[in-house]
């Protein structure tokens, strides 16, 4: 590695033309478009209006052959490592590599994940730029550092030194929470813990009637949630009945919980309805228990197509065989060299520790990971031959492609028409579900925020609400309103990121720049509130971290006007551009029935004509106190999806306006007294008491499932707690993009090759969110 790094500099410095070489290379660093993880959001900002990386002569180029610079954005998973190696090999010499983000160095927040590698083991790195996520300023500073390095200026980067802190003793005395671990070796895991709530008697009776003789028990497990225990043999029949008689038409989550000490798996399907209005907020859990040896269960894909990809995922993580699902036995999310069945309890990852013991071997933390030896593309020879026999062409797209993001889709194209599209997610699979089992409940707040750093507050809110739900905490009113404001800002952020990508996919760079510029303003306000650009982790169970001053609220109010003004310009140049309309109208149509069958979520579902918004059907925070409307459409095409989201953003602006007005007159604490306990002084600012308050959170026994309307749709967190440990026993995250992937592929059928990008952009598919 070191040799190669020097070799690049040697090429630059050789020959009589060296000064020209240096000068030209310095001012013409063209980064190739190789977006590897979520820091790509900040990369987009660094090269968009506002920061404009093109000032430095760096022009983002789509293809490796023509570029001489890679900016690796954070996490390199095992799957992405292959692509990285390949792309780097394709680039002509001399070439340079910068790594941005903490996880690109030694893993950062994902340091003990089973699926990540270290970029420095794969390619020679010139500069590391820390931050999680990094700021665009830092990124551009990294570019300048590379430029200086090329011309031979040694820019002093950070040197690490061991310093003695004067208050080190004091630190040791401070109360440090116990390290995260499962306390009980053989905890009792139950997903149907009965809870007394004033709800659901009718539904319970109804279910008992309909499923006579097919169930083992039906338990009400909380408000709007009910669990049905059945047997392996009856599962399919139960599902059939629920589908047909109860109109429970989609699966929200497929989950497997391993209980090794009882030698069993619990396989559960969380289902709900899009058609029956009173069943919309209800989560029905159907679960069976199966033995640990040769776990096999009948797949429910034939009844609920929306379970398809989740079943495949669970098969890969736990080895449970879903009989009847076509994807069994194939790799889907994981790379061939990822450890098998990683989510089983017997597979251990390095433990989290707070205080380093004196003699702890550091090697354990710094295990070098072998770079991949082969280029793994999961397409068989027969597949290609079959395609050629049918006069078709096979085109794999991504993950290194100017219009793919971190997703590989393999197309079979006949003429210009897509015959088959095979998705291959998992390029940004950072194994959050496993990592969460090894961290304190409160430590998982920043972890889950990294699902989508362009929609951070909603991700945060989804997790925090699950904890609050379990602990039975009521959030103070002021905090509710402030959370609503932040969540809506986050929704606007997510939309503008997606619309930027949408316009870029159409080759419309101006639309991209405008969206990013608007996003920049939203980020500015979020920064004023929380202090962080895209990773605030500002919401905590029971409220928010700090109170927000009136100045910032004024700024937020101003923002609504500014967004309105700029939005108009964006609409003029991109949205109502005749070419955009020609490209997006009538393309990638998902009918209402298809959308429900594939379990589409969020604004994309509403664009197909289903009036389903969690903010309305099961209101949380302050949404029921404000005046706003759900936007639905009937077209279900790309333009409909996009315009639907645009209309939704206008509603968001309305919500923010009202909420800002309301919150000014509401004074009070921003943290619930229930969670603060004895630390009452932290009611308006948690600073200084954070770990004392939150360090030893323990959730009551049972399963806690909460759904939240995130920027791109339903975000589901399902936490299983054993009631004793300070870590969750199992966390299941279903992000909106993951649910949308099935519908995304469905919408591609019969479309033209170039329509892929229209569909992709209209779904706002953000791979880090989907891959978790």
């Amino acid at each position: 590695m070191e040799e190669y790094k020097n070799a690049n500099m040697r090429i630059i410095n050789s020959g009589p033309l060296a000064p020209f070489r240096k000068w030209a290379s310095k001012w013409s660093l063209w980064p190739c478009h190789f977006i590897t993880s979520c820091c790509g959001v900040e990369l987009a900002h660094a090269f968009a209006a506002g920061y404009d990386g093109e000032r430095l002569g760096t022009l983002n180029m789509g293809i490796s052959r023509q570029s001489n610079y890679i900016i690796i954005e954070g996490t390199i998973t095992r799957k992405m490592a292959r692509a990285l190696q390949f792309v780097w090999g394709q680039m002509p010499d001399p070439k340079f590599v910068n790594v941005i983000g903490a996880c690109g160095e030694r893993g950062g927040i994902f340091w003990n994940s089973y699926n990540i590698t270290h970029p420095s083991d794969i390619v020679p790195v010139d500069f590391f730029i820390p931050g999680c996520p990094i700021t665009p300023e830092a990124l551009l500073r990294g570019v300048r550092a590379t430029q200086d390095k090329i011309v031979g200026i040694d820019r002093k980067t950070i040197e690490f030194k061991r310093v003695e802190l004067p208050f080190e003793k004091q630190l040791e005395e401070r109360m440090v929470p116990t390290s995260p671990k499962l306390f009980a070796p053989t905890p009792l895991i139950k997903v149907d813990v009965k809870r007394e709530v004033d709800w659901g008697k009718e539904l319970e009776d109804n279910l008992k009637n309909k499923l006579e003789g097919l169930y083992e028990s039906i338990t009400i497990t909380g408000k709007s949630s009910i669990a049905i225990k059945t047997t392996q043999e009856n599962l399919k029949e139960v599902a059939q009945k629920l589908r047909e008689q109860m109109k429970l038409d989609h699966v929200k989550s497929v989950n497997v919980i391993e209980v090794p000490h009882e030698r069993k798996f619990i396989v559960e399907y969380i289902i709900s309805s899009y058609t029956e209005e009173e069943l919309m907020p209800v989560l029905v859990t159907v679960f069976v228990e199966i033995g640990l040896k040769d776990p096999k269960i009948e797949s429910l894909t034939s009844i609920w197509e929306s379970a398809n990809y989740s079943e495949r995922e669970m098969h890969e993580f736990f080895g449970v065989l879903f009989d009847g699902n076509k994807g069994m036995g194939k790799k889907f999310i994981l790379a061939p060299d990822t450890p098998d069945l990683p989510l089983r309890k017997e597979f251990k990852i390095p433990e989290e520790r707070y205080v380093f013991e004196k003699d702890m071997p550091l090697d354990e933390l710094m295990v070098p990971i072998e770079p991949p030896k082969d280029l793994y593309i999961p397409i068989s020879e027969e597949f290609i031959e079959e395609a050629y026999d049918n006069d078709e062409i096979v085109v794999p797209i991504g993950p290194h492609h100017a219009g793919s993001g971190h997703l590989r889709v393999t197309f079979r194209i006949k003429g210009d028409i897509i015959v088959e599209a095979i998705p291959e997610p998992g390029f940004v699979h950072r194994s959050m579900e496993k990592l969460a089992e090894n961290r304190l409940y409160i430590q998982n707040v920043p972890l889950f925020e990294r699902l989508a750093i362009n929609d951070p507050v909603n991700m945060n809110l989804g997790y925090v609400r699950t904890l609050e739900n379990a602990l039975g905490i009521e959030v103070p009113e002021r905090a509710q309103y402030l959370r609503t404001i932040m969540a809506e800002l986050s929704r606007i952020e997510a939309f503008y990121y997606d619309s930027g990508i949408f316009s870029l996919f159409f080759g419309h760079t101006t639309g991209f720049m405008y969206s990013m510029a608007i996003r920049e303003m939203v980020i500015e306000v979020l920064m004023g509130m929380t202090g962080s650009r895209s990773g605030p982790s500002f919401l905590v169970p029971g409220g928010i971290r700090r109170d927000i001053s009136d100045d910032v609220l004024k700024l937020t109010d101003n923002l609504t006007f500014a967004i309105h003004k700029r939005m108009k310009k964006f609409e003029d140049i991109f949205v109502y551009n005749p070419v955009t309309i020609a490209r997006a109208k009538g393309v990638g149509v998902l009918t209402k029935a298809d959308a429900i069958r594939c379990g589409i979520v969020g604004p994309f579902l509403r664009a197909s004509g289903v009036n389903y918004d969690i903010r309305k059907i099961a209101p949380y925070e302050a949404y029921d106190k404000l005046d706003w409307e759900v936007t639905t459409g009937d077209d279900g095409d790309c333009l409909g999806r996009f315009l639907g989201r645009l209309a939704e953003i206008k509603e968001s602006v309305r919500i923010i306006k009202q909420a800002v007005d309301a919150v000014r007159s509401i004074k009070g604490p921003i943290l619930s007294a229930d969670i603060l306990g004895e630390y009452k002084e932290a009611a308006s600012d948690i600073k200084g008491n954070f770990f004392r308050v939150f360090g030893n959170l323990v959730l009551p026994k049972g399963e806690w499932t909460t759904i939240t309307e995130a920027g791109r749709g339903t975000l589901l967190f399902s936490i299983i707690s054993d009631g004793e440990s300070n870590v969750p026993y199992r966390v299941r995250v279903i992000s909106p993009c993951w649910m949308n992937l099935r519908g995304f592929m469905e919408a591609l059928k019969g479309a033209r090759y170039a329509d892929f990008w229209a569909v992709y952009g209209s779904f706002g598919y953000f791979p880090p969110e989907a891959d978790r």
């Binding site: 020209f20 030209a24 001012w27 013409s28 093109e54 002569g57 101006t510 020609a582 490209r583 033209r752």
Partner: protein
């Protein structure tokens, strides 16, 4: 044996007249060798073909035009574009750095490519690009600045321009890559879609002017009666065909970055890509020059005092530049069409427009 004096006198009889430089040039022309050289440089055909608006101008344009494009599109997008390389001149030498970098970078020829064709085509492409300039008339009515006077000047230009896509097809074929393949096929489809309206429109102008001699074409646009005023429909169709032919947005379909990663040029690196990259700009320049000659009155414009016939050439280049800038600006305004939509435009609207333009020309030709 060529009589050198006869050649010199032939050149001397056909010189670009620049009054401002006359006092300086007169003594130099007397000198033995320098004199020949000056006579050659100022010989009208040589001057037009090599200096202005010929190869030298083209070369400078290739360095400046992408910069103009990047800067202007940057302005439209609320940012500044390349700047830090030379802050005082707003980064005008950015393309110099880029092209030098391409020159010094490794050229990779992957093992599945057809090695010789892969390298030849970007160079051979200069042939159809530069040859149409042989017939270009940068002068004005009654004062032609043209390298070769031919009665079939326009037809020859169109024929050579229509040769250009063949080289792009060759580039794509030699690359042997999926995206190159798709991009090449897209180029071929588009080729037919724009080529026919393009030829018909040129035909319309030949009908209107009553000649296909480039001298005659410019002569027919005396005063303010430029081609664009005589037949605006033809000018519009020509412009759209030009945008399509050079694969600019909204017709940037063969090279769509997000879809087929530069299509035919996906495998090119180093200086080979540098050449392939400027192909589009070369074509843009030639077509813009043709448009200036056909529709914008060639080099007609007020004579700049002291520059004599050179001022026509300057006007010509300026008009060409304006056309180029308009084309470059489209990048900031439009997304790209899908292939089938572009084909529909080519075979539908444009073809009809072109035919109407012919009818218009016939009517105008009869009336005038």
């Amino acid at each position: 044996m060529i009589d050198i004096n006869a050649v010199i006198s032939m050149m001397m009889n056909n010189q670009v007249d620049i009054p401002l430089l006359q006092p300086l040039l007169k003594p130099m022309l007397e000198m033995p060798l320098v004199g020949y050289l000056i006579a050659l440089v100022l010989w009208k055909p040589f001057f037009v073909l090599i200096l202005m608006p010929g190869f030298a101008t083209l070369g400078i344009m290739l360095l400046i035009l992408p910069w103009i494009e990047r800067k202007m599109v940057g302005r439209m997008q609320w940012r500044v574009g390349p700047r830090e390389i030379s802050p005082h001149t707003r980064g005008i030498i950015q393309l110099l750095a880029d092209s030098l970098r391409f020159l010094f970078q490794e050229v990779i020829i992957h093992k599945d490519a057809h090695r010789s064709y892969f390298l030849q085509f970007p160079f051979l492409y200069f042939i159809p690009v530069l040859l149409p300039l042989l017939f270009i008339n940068a002068g004005t009515a009654g004062n032609p600045l043209v390298p070769i006077v031919s009665d079939y000047g326009l037809q020859l230009m169109v024929a050579l321009i229509c040769l250009m896509p063949v080289f792009i097809l060759g580039v794509g074929w030699a690359s042997n890559n999926r995206f190159a393949f798709i991009g090449t096929v897209r180029e071929a489809f588009l080729y037919f879609a724009y080529e026919i309206p393009f030829i018909i429109v040129v035909l319309a102008m030949i009908v209107l002017y009553g000649t296909s001699n480039t001298v005659g074409v410019v002569n027919a646009q005396s005063g303010v009666w430029w081609g664009i005023i005589q037949n605006p429909l033809a000018a519009l169709t020509f412009f759209i065909a030009m945008v399509m032919a050079t694969a600019r947005l909204p017709f940037e379909i063969p090279e769509a970055d997000q879809e087929v990663s530069f299509g035919p040029f996906v495998e090119y690196s180093g200086i080979a890509f540098g050449l392939a990259y400027v192909m589009g700009y070369e074509k843009m320049y030639v077509l813009s020059a043709l448009m200036t000659m056909l529709f914008l009155g060639g080099g007609s414009g007020p004579v700049i005092p002291g520059l004599g016939e050179l001022s026509y050439a300057i006007w010509f280049v300026l008009k060409t530049l304006i056309v180029l800038v308009v084309m470059a600006n489209l990048r900031g305004v439009y997304p790209r069409y899908r292939l089938d939509q572009a084909l529909k435009i080519g075979w539908g609207a444009m073809l009809i427009l072109a035919l109407v333009a012919v009818a218009w020309s016939l009517v105008m030709g009869v009336i005038l």
